[in-house]
Structures are given as C-alpha cells and as structure tokens.
Point group: C2
Chain length 410, copies 2
C-alpha cells in the first residue's frame, strides 16, 4: 500500500467526482472510483453529450497513469442496487474516507416525468442509505463526505442569512425561553433538492445512533470546467454540460455566447444563486477530508460556496463580454421570482480556503473551451423542456418577462 | 356507484387498516383495500403469527358481505413496486380519499439486520413517493391521509410540550427578532421512525409544489384489538401481535400476563410513551377524512393519541390486575432511560373526539382475548431479538436494572 490512505470516490466519473479523484490521487491518496456510469447513460437517453469530448474510463485512467505515474482503481458498482458488492469493497479497502457524489444531481432532470421523479428518489435515497448501512454493517470507521446542495435551504428565506446547517432559535419550554440549535428547516425546490433533504435526515440518524462521522457539503452552482489535473492530458478533460437539464446557469450562458444562442434567462432573472468554481469544489473537498469531525461529533455541515449573484446580472456580464443577446423565457420552475441570498461560509475560510471568485479572466477561459468545442453543441437541447408543474407552458422561443410578473404557477 | 364516495385503504389488511376499512364501509363509503399482504408474509419469515387467528382476505371480505350486506374490494398491489397498477387504479376509482397505512411499521423489525433496514427504507419511501407521484401524474384530486408516528418527535425533548407538527420559534433576521413557524425538527429513534420523518418531507414538497391535500397523523402506541365491526363475525377478528418485533408494549404485557410470562420491561421502564386505543385510531381517521385540508392549505398534522404513561407504571398496573411478575431486560434501543412527554391533541378533541382512555374494563377485555387464544402463543418469540447497536447485548433471561443506570450504548 502506497501513499496517505485509501479513499473511495462514489460517482468519481462525474463532473465534480472526476477532478476530485485526480486531485486526491495527486495528493498521494490511494483512490478507488466507484461509478455505475449513469451520467454517461443519461447522455444516451437525452440524445446529448458533454460539450467537451469525454474519454472512456479506461482511457482516462490510462492517461492519468501516464502523466502522473499513479494508479486510480475503478469499480462499476451501482450503490443503490449492488449492496453486497459495496459492502465487500469497504471490507477490502478499509477506506479512511468515502466521498459520495453518486446521486442524480440535476433538478430539471428530476422533474421531467413521473419516471424521472421516481428514479431520482429511488436512486438517491437507496444509494445514500446503502452507504451508511454498509459502513455500520462492515464495521468500517470511515469519514463520509457527501456533496449536498445550497438548495436544501430553499431560496425564499427573505433576508435571513443562511447559517451552516444549524439554526439557533428561541422556544418556550415550561413557560421559560430557551435557546436551542436545530437542523436548518428544509425547504426543497424540486424532487432532486428534496432527496438531499432526505439524505440529511439519514445522516442525522446514522450519526446519532451509530456514531458515523459525516461531513455534508451544501454546494452552490458550480461553474468552470478544468482544474490543474484535468489539463495535464487531453484524455483527462472534464465534462462540460450546457443543455436544459444538466447545464448549470453560468456555464450555460458561456456556451450560449460561444455558439451564438441567446442567453436563456428563465423568469425575470431575479433569482439569486450561490456559486463556486470547480477548482474550489475540489479545494473544499480536500479541506473537508483533512478536517474530519471528531468521534462523537454531530454531522458537520459546510456551505460550499464563495459568492452569490442574481441570474440577470450574470447574463448582463456575459453579454457585455461577448455581445450575446439576452432573452427571457417562462420559468419552468415553481419558485419565487426574486430572492435575496446571504450565505455564511466562514468555516471553509477559517480552514484556509482562498476563494476563486468571478473574474473576466476565468470567464474567458471557459468561453475559450466552449468555442473550441462549439461544433459539438446540439442547439436543440439548450432550452429546458422540464416543467415543475404541468400547467407551466414550455417556452421554446422566449417571452419578454417584466420584473414583477408573477410566475405562472406560484 | 353506491354510498358516500370512493376511498382506497392502502395497507387495509393490517392491524390498523382492517378495522378502519370495516368502519368506513359501514359508514357508507365504497372501500377498496390495496395490500400486498406483506404483514402476513413477515409472519412467515419470523415463524410467528397473530395471537388471534386471522382468516384469508377472501374469507374476511365474504364474512363482511354476510354480516353487513356491503362489499369491500381488494387489490393485491405492491405500491412500492407496482407504480403503473397503482396509477391505473387511481384513474379508475377517482377516490375522494386515500388512507395510507402501507408501510413497514415496527421499529424493532427495522433494526434486525442490514436487510431489514434496507427493506424498511426502500419500501416505505418508494411506497409513499409512488402514491404522491401517481396522484399528480393521474391528476386525481384526492385527500391523502397518512398514518405517521409520535416517534418523529423523538422522546428526548425534556419538558417541551409537543405541538401538532409545527413549532413556533423566534429567530433573528437582519438584527430583528421574528417569530416564525417551522415543521417540528425531527429526531427519529430508529430506522422505521426515520422513514416517517422522510415521509414528512415528501408531503411537505408535494403539498408545496403540486398542492396535494395531505393529513399526517402522528399516532401513539396502539393498544386493544377489537372494534364494533371486527366483533360482528369471528372471521372479522383483528390481528393481535405480541412478539418482540410487532408486539407493542401494553398489548404485549397483557398477553404476557395471560400466558404466565414475566412482563418484559426494557431498561428502567422510565420511557414515557403516548397511547391510543384501536377504537380511537378508527375514530380519528373518520374525523380526519371528514375534515380535509382546504385547497392551498399546508399539510395538516394531528397528534393521534389520547394519553401518556410511563412503561413501568403500565407494568405495575397489569401486574396488580393479574398478579404477573415484572422483569427488567437490557434495553435493545439506543434511547434516553427516562423521559417526560407532554403531547398536544387539541385538534382531534375540537373535532369531537371523546377519548377512550385506560380503564380496568378495557384492559380486562384484552386479557380475555389473550387468554382465549393463549395456546397459539409462541413463548420463544416474546423477547425482542433486535438491537439498535451491535454492542448492546441480547438479554433473554432478564437483568435487574436500577433506575438511573445508563443505557449500554448511550
């Protein structure tokens, strides 16, 4: 056995999992990727693909061996189904850390149809529960690091700044006021987000009953595509999603600008979202691994995000940089038109995170990638065709939306 | 079509579902029972059976036709698996109400092994989610009434009286104190209880996004066995569980007294639990059906319980009535040794519930049933063989426990 210890990266072939796996391998950990390739199969289902050309897992791992001299192992296991394979792997590797990215992670995909809703719930909950159950069953004392989402808090908390997982409240007990700390009340905005709020309760229970050490990272919207490691060889390039289901807002705007499509603002663009660059996703996960909860400590929750922006401000910025047209579309989501968002992230800052925030240089880097691969873009896939409720119309052409117009299904 | 409207009772062959189905049929509703007979199959798995002899579903329904002149329909559907059958049934029946008992409902069973933990999570969450998804998918505007548990609140809330689902708290927003109402923070005590806290989030989301009208009944420990309807014919008799997994505390004591087994108090018996008689379970469900939430109203939550008692006080009461010996066993649960419990139940009282509380007459009635069927009791199945953690020893002989002794795995 070489290096710092064994780490299993569940979902290590995906957009966040892949650059994390490379970075941890480079840092000297023995990395085993567990992935059922579901994200690649969803590309097949959607008739779409990453803007960047993704190599097979075999070729990715061979290229990594070539440039780094290090080996990453790969196991094709469906953690929501193949419980005994997962348990056997835990016993075999005795990992010090398990990083759990292995969930269906797109809100619009989770809302496409009853089939997609049911898949997202079944896959995410059974997957997370199997990991927890197997850890206790196998008696493996690993630190579980889970990628959650800022979306568990909801976006409608009008002015209340979002703490890191726990909320101090005052209640009356026997006529006296007491201050107590409670898990932040969840307010999920989609089936996908709902599954992350269910995950939080699974963590709460297994931590309380079995003492499993868990860190839950409530991540903002990720943008960017490359990291130092994915740039080391063309076969290591990371995914770049731009279509209506998996394309997150800032990356989507940058591709739209590169291919000459109007920037797709849903609703008024008054939604404020929390953001993080993919390089900081990786940096934060390294910090979380290096700072596990103590034995007996409750679930550690970090807000993994570095800045907040209104969607329409991002559209204006990208438009200014590229000359792209901004167009508003009817919002497929059932959410507040406009919201404020003030997020605490002092815990990662205290651990030494030096945030990579929005800069024209970084935006230009992403536009360059997008331009290089723009011929791979399927323009017909850009507009979201999921809707949060059946009575929200699908808007393929763009409809002028006035600030203050109520959403269709509010 | 006859009567007051169509009602589907999911899990209508079980301990609470069966007497509820009979009562609703008698009240004039068209009742369709949906059940996959999982509870009967678990009897097979455990090598155990209801103390009372249960007829086949066919014979039960034939007896009901004979004594009442009314027909209850039956469909064998696994709601966690057979989504399309469930959806088709909803479209066909257009029920005004769906009552959802169809979950694995024993905490000790949910803790028996990894297989039982995983079954409970998979079955309960996919089942509940399928019902919600199918309601929206089929466009059926039914009121969903779900049987939850007082256990979602946890039993460790030291002196805070338990409100009905929602908690008023005071928080700081922009430096000003605001009073807000939040869903009561969940604190589940087992995998089974955890699934009910997950259900609550599914309800919260589907109510918010899709306007599904939902009532969630947080029920206490049920005792008793017969109702007016189950007494109408011997083939209508209700289940009576006494073994370590499904036998709830007061019913278990009454059987133990009847068969000459020591009363099995786990830990110090200082646990305070909320109780309800099976007749009031049925009464409450009728009240919930008759008082659905308004369109646009949030999830309605009732505490379905009529009184609270300490376990050791119940043991003393049964011992006094019957002369049975009380014996303490190591608690297989990971919970507080002693707890207080003050529960609000004003909502059902305001709707006219006239609580049936503990009385010697009612206890004697249950002891009579237990005595009648005592030869069917399998003495080897009385002691719980589930443990909340592997390091809690299995105690088959009984160990003197002193009040104040810390639990093994606290």
């Amino acid at each position: 056995m070489q290096g710092k210890g064994n780490i299993i990266v569940l979902g290590g072939d995906g957009f966040c999992g892949w650059p994390t796996s490379l970075r941890l391998s480079r840092e000297g950990y023995n990395v085993t990727i567990v992935d059922n390739l579901s994200r690649r199969k969803i590309d097949v289902e959607l008739g779409c693909q990453s803007l960047t050309p993704i190599e097979t897992v075999e070729n990715r791992l061979a290229a990594w061996r070539e440039v780094s001299g290090r080996t990453i192992e790969f196991r094709n296991i469906d953690i929501a189904r193949d419980y005994h394979e997962l348990r056997t792997l835990l016993v075999e590797l005795q990992p010090q850390t398990i990083i759990h990215f292995a969930e269906q992670r797109a809100a619009p995909y989770s809302m496409k149809s009853p089939k997609h809703k049911r898949y997202t719930v079944d896959n995410n909950i059974n997957g997370t529960h199997n990991v927890l159950c197997a850890l206790v069953d196998a008696g493996v004392d690993a630190h579980l690091v889970h990628l959650g989402t800022m979306g568990v808090y909801g976006y409608g908390t009008a002015g209340m700044s979002i703490p890191e997982g726990y909320l101090n409240v005052r209640v009356d007990i026997k006529g006296q006021e007491h201050e107590i700390e409670i898990p932040y009340p969840p307010h999920p905005g989609s089936i996908y987000h709902m599954t992350k709020t269910l995950d939080a309760l699974l963590f709460y229970y297994y931590n309380k009953n079995d003492g499993v050490r868990i860190t839950d990272l409530h991540q903002g919207v990720v943008w960017g595509t490359n990291t130092d490691e994915t740039l080391m060889h063309p076969a290591l390039i990371n995914r770049f999603d731009y279509e209506g289901d998996y394309g997150t807002v800032l990356n989507r705007f940058l591709v739209e600008a590169a291919v000459g499509h109007p920037l797709t603002v849903y609703g008024t663009g008054g939604q404020t979202r929390a953001f993080i660059h993919i390089r900081d996703t990786v940096n934060c996960i390294v910090l979380a691994i290096q700072n596990p909860p103590a034995r007996g400590e409750r679930v550690k929750i970090f807000n993994q995000t570095t800045e907040t922006h209104r969607v329409r401000d991002l559209a204006a910025l990208v438009s200014r940089l590229t000359g792209a047209e901004v167009r508003t579309y009817i919002n497929p989501r059932n959410e507040s038109l406009e919201n404020e968002l003030v997020v605490h992230n002092e815990q990662f800052l205290a651990l030494g995170l030096n945030p990579i925030t929005l800069s024209e240089g970084l935006l230009a880097e992403v536009i360059e990638v997008a331009s290089k691969y723009k011929d791979r873009c399927n323009l017909s896939k850009i507009i979201a065709d999921s809707r949060w409720r059946r009575d929200i119309p699908l808007d393929r052409e763009g409809t002028p939306v006035t600030v203050g117009t109520p959403p269709v299904a509010a």
